[in-house]
C-alpha cells in the first residue's frame, strides 16, 4: 500500500519532504485566508514552506471567507 496522509478527510499520497505549500498545490487550493492544523496542531503561514508533514498525518485546511 502507498504511503499516505489525510487532507480534509481525503487520502493523498505521501512523498518525502512534503510541505504545506506542496499539499496546497496538490489539492489545487488557491485560497489565501487559511487556518491549517496538522494532527491538531496549528501551523502558521511562515511554516507553510518549511514544515515537513510526516507520513500518516491528519491535515485540516479551513478556508476563511469574509462576511459577518
Amino acid at each position: 500500500m502507498k504511503k499516505q496522509i489525510i487532507v480534509n478527510d481525503n487520502p493523498i499520497e505521501w512523498k518525502k519532504n512534503l510541505t504545506i505549500d506542496k499539499i496546497l498545490k496538490i489539492m489545487n487550493y488557491s485560497f489565501k485566508m487559511l487556518v491549517i492544523k496538522v494532527d491538531g496542531k496549528l501551523i502558521k503561514k511562515d511554516e507553510y514552506g518549511t514544515k515537513i508533514v510526516p507520513e500518516n498525518s491528519d491535515v485540516k485546511i479551513i478556508h476563511l471567507i469574509s462576511g459577518g
Partner: protein, 202 residues
C-alpha cells in the same frame, strides 16, 4: 417597566440555568454576527458577555445588525450594551470599544469560557483564530465562514477541528460592496450561539 429576575427566568430549565448563569462568553466583533450572537446569549441569560468592536453604526448596517435608526453614529458596543440591557438587565456586559489585535485579544478575553469569532473580514478571522489557538489551546473558539447571499439552508453546517468550530457553508463569497443578508447571517450567528450552549452544558 420593572421586572424581577425571578420572572425573567421563570420558564428557563432549572437544571441548566445555574451553569448558564455562571458562564462567561467572549464575542469578538459586534456586527452582523456579533450583535445577533449577543442578543441570543443575553436572552438565554449567559452570566457575563465580553464584547469588543471598534466600529460605529452606519445606516447600511441596519439590514442585518441588531441596532436601531436612532443609534446610527454610535459605537456598536455602546449601542449593543443599551439594547442588551433592555432585553435582559440581569446579566453582566463588559464592552471594549477597541480594534482587536494579537496583543489585546489574550488580555481582553482571558477570562472567557468560550470565544465567538464574529468578524467581517477573512484576514481578521484568521488572525483571531490563530491568536486564540496559540494562546488558549484548551479553550473553544467558534468561528463563522461562508454566510453571504440567501437560501441554501442545506449547505450551512458546523465543522469541528478539536477546539476550533466553524459555522457556515464555507463556500459563499461576498459580492463587491454587497453585505450579507439578515436571514443567513442570523442563522449562522444563532448556530454559533446554539453551539456555545451545547458546549457549556456538555
Amino acid at each position: 417597566m420593572k421586572i424581577s429576575q425571578k420572572d425573567f427566568f421563570s420558564k428557563h430549565d432549572p437544571k441548566i440555568l445555574p451553569i448558564i448563569r455562571k458562564a462567561t462568553v467572549g464575542i469578538a466583533g459586534a456586527g452582523g454576527l456579533g450583535s445577533n450572537v449577543a442578543v441570543s446569549l443575553a436572552r438565554v441569560g449567559i452570566g457575563k458577555l465580553i464584547i469588543a468592536d471598534f466600529d460605529t453604526i452606519e445606516a447600511s448596517n441596519l439590514n442585518r445588525q441588531q441596532y436601531f435608526i436612532e443609534q446610527i453614529g454610535k459605537p456598536k458596543v455602546i449601542a449593543l450594551l443599551e439594547n442588551l440591557k433592555k432585553i435582559n438587565p440581569f446579566s453582566e456586559y463588559q464592552i471594549h470599544h477597541i480594534k482587536l489585535n494579537e496583543k489585546n485579544i489574550p488580555i481582553i478575553f482571558k477570562d472567557v469560557d468560550i470565544l465567538v469569532e464574529a468578524f467581517d473580514k477573512a484576514e481578521m478571522k484568521k488572525m483571531l483564530i490563530e491568536t486564540w489557538l496559540s494562546e488558549f489551546p484548551e479553550k473553544p473558539i467558534i468561528a463563522a465562514s461562508g454566510l453571504a447571499g440567501y437560501g441554501m439552508n442545506e449547505l450551512i453546517h458546523t465543522k469541528k477541528l478539536d477546539n476550533l468550530y466553524i459555522c457556515g457553508d464555507e463556500i459563499t463569497k461576498l459580492k463587491n460592496n454587497i453585505s450579507p443578508m439578515a436571514p443567513r447571517v442570523g442563522i449562522v450567528a444563532n448556530m454559533q450561539a446554539n453551539l456555545v450552549l451545547e458546549m457549556l452544558l456538555m
